[in-house]
Symmetry: C2
Subunit: 297 residues, 2 copies
């Protein structure tokens, strides 16, 4: 019997999780507790950064979180930015702090990231959170890998003993996901292979994957012949590709050639509507966990 | 042409590195600088722990480092132990601090590890060092993985684009090594697969390895039929196996069935005399790096 292909609906899953969070917040407020509070710092007026931060603030509102958006001009000094980070670190009414990247060249992203109190680091980028994740200790897991874990969990996808091939070794997706999926937990306990730009004969690896994660940022890189029949395919890519087929002039494409690959899969995430809505909801989850002191270790 | 098998001599490589370090120390002392200083804390009288710590202190003496051995009785309180850690953290004349594990049940190893100043954490166990390693930032790399990198480097073994299979996902060997060998550096840039106790058909993975790292702690687990012709095999195992063939009553065995596997390899580490001498010299390297403030990031 051939299993039918199932689309992993990130939009719907994220909506359900947002609803659960909203209920939790109503319950907390009724108990007289204060709502979780996310602070976001935005430097300059980069178009995509604006869009992302606005979406995060809107998400907060929707589930009943407080949010604070701090804006700085492009030419803010590193010193002033770090002072604001420290002020928010010390503010007991704020649970989570994110600084939207990229930052202007004259500011060290590393210094900013490492100045954020790890207990408020809901992006999970601080080395202490990364290290604790690797050591399987309680930690904030960054939003995209966390969102993918939530998808696997919500669809009840079996992971133990499966061969998972992660294409891409970025600090924010490929690397953490490869660690998370090989940890002794659920989702996890996969045999994990990490492929990257220096991998030779990459299709020999992808063809062996029970679970294939494409996170390299090259539109439609993964073609049908690179995927095993029955595989679970998670597409993390989200690239703008020019088109004259619509008014916007671009389409969003994943790293997977969907039409070819989908027919071979047991499960696949579409683009858009797969991983990216889960990334947004994962940030809310982290902020709630911070508010509840659930990541203290 | 079949390449001849070469034994990777860890004893000899470690001796050469110790000599280089000793020369460096003589040079530093002649410049009027102070020698690197390693402090080790030993709790109780566990036989193996005694042996390890004594060896580390002896190594220090041999290369011209200062060393301090702090001993506590088995029933020392966690509070007193942590107070000593903090005292050493604050002592500007000490560059590196290790607390020999395991600790008695009533003391939290995690709390102790996380109390050590990351800048003096020459064992590389602090989450901040683990996180920075993952993020490819300057950090202390724990001794066994660091020793293995030094071996690969000293033997000029090509790693970029090779398929490396790591058997074992422990926090101190398998996990960090799998990350290090897939980072964008040398040694590194391998396509890395991590296998562990939940991996199915493990020999199907090991047979594909250009570089095979056995770090699971099961004597002679890797047999000849599990290894590809021409592979590089790194054996991290070091188990005592009973025997009536000698007076001690035991033999040291690696995770690799040496006689069967060696004849298929291009390079192989013996046990003993392969990885373990490198582990010891890697700790000295870290202590020197700390003294020279080379890990500041």
């Amino acid at each position: 019997m051939v299993q039918e292909m199932q689309i992993i609906d990130g939009q719907q899953t994220a909506a359900r999780i947002r609803q659960e969070i909203a209920e939790e917040i109503r319950y907390m407020l009724a108990q007289g507790k204060r709502a979780p509070h996310l602070a976001a710092i935005l430097v300059g007026t980069n178009g995509s950064s604006e869009t992302y931060v606005r979406a995060k603030v809107r998400d907060c509102k929707e589930v009943g979180f407080e949010s604070t958006l701090v804006r700085f001009p492009e030419n803010v000094s590193e010193e002033d930015l770090l002072a604001k980070v420290k002020e928010i670190n010390d503010n007991p009414h704020i649970d989570g702090l994110i600084v939207q990247l990229p930052l202007p060249e004259h500011i060290s992203e590393r210094k900013v990231t490492e100045t954020i109190n790890p207990r408020k680091d809901v992006d999970g980028f601080h080395p202490e959170n990364v290290g604790k994740m690797v050591l399987n200790l309680p930690s904030f897991i960054s939003a995209t890998p966390f969102g993918i874990l939530l998808l696997l969990e919500n669809y009840g996808i079996e992971t133990a003993g499966k061969h998972c091939v992660v294409v891409g070794r970025s600090n924010i997706v490929g690397r953490p996901l490869s660690v998370l999926l090989s940890r002794n937990s659920y989702p996890g306990n996969c045999t994990v292979t990490v492929c990257h730009s220096r991998t030779k004969n990459i299709s020999e690896f992808t063809k062996e994957a029970d679970i294939l994660v494409a996170a390299l940022g090259k539109p439609e890189f993964i073609t049908g012949d690179m995927v095993k029949q029955g595989a679970v395919v998670i597409d993390v890519g989200l690239s703008r590709v020019s088109t004259d087929k619509n008014e916007k002039g671009y389409m969003l494409k994943g790293d997977v050639k969907f039409d070819e690959v989908a027919e071979k899969c047991s499960y696949i995430t579409p683009v858009p509507g797969g991983v990216s809505p889960m990334t947004r909801v994962a940030l809310l989850k982290n902020t709630l966990l911070s508010n509840q002191n659930s990541i203290i270790s």
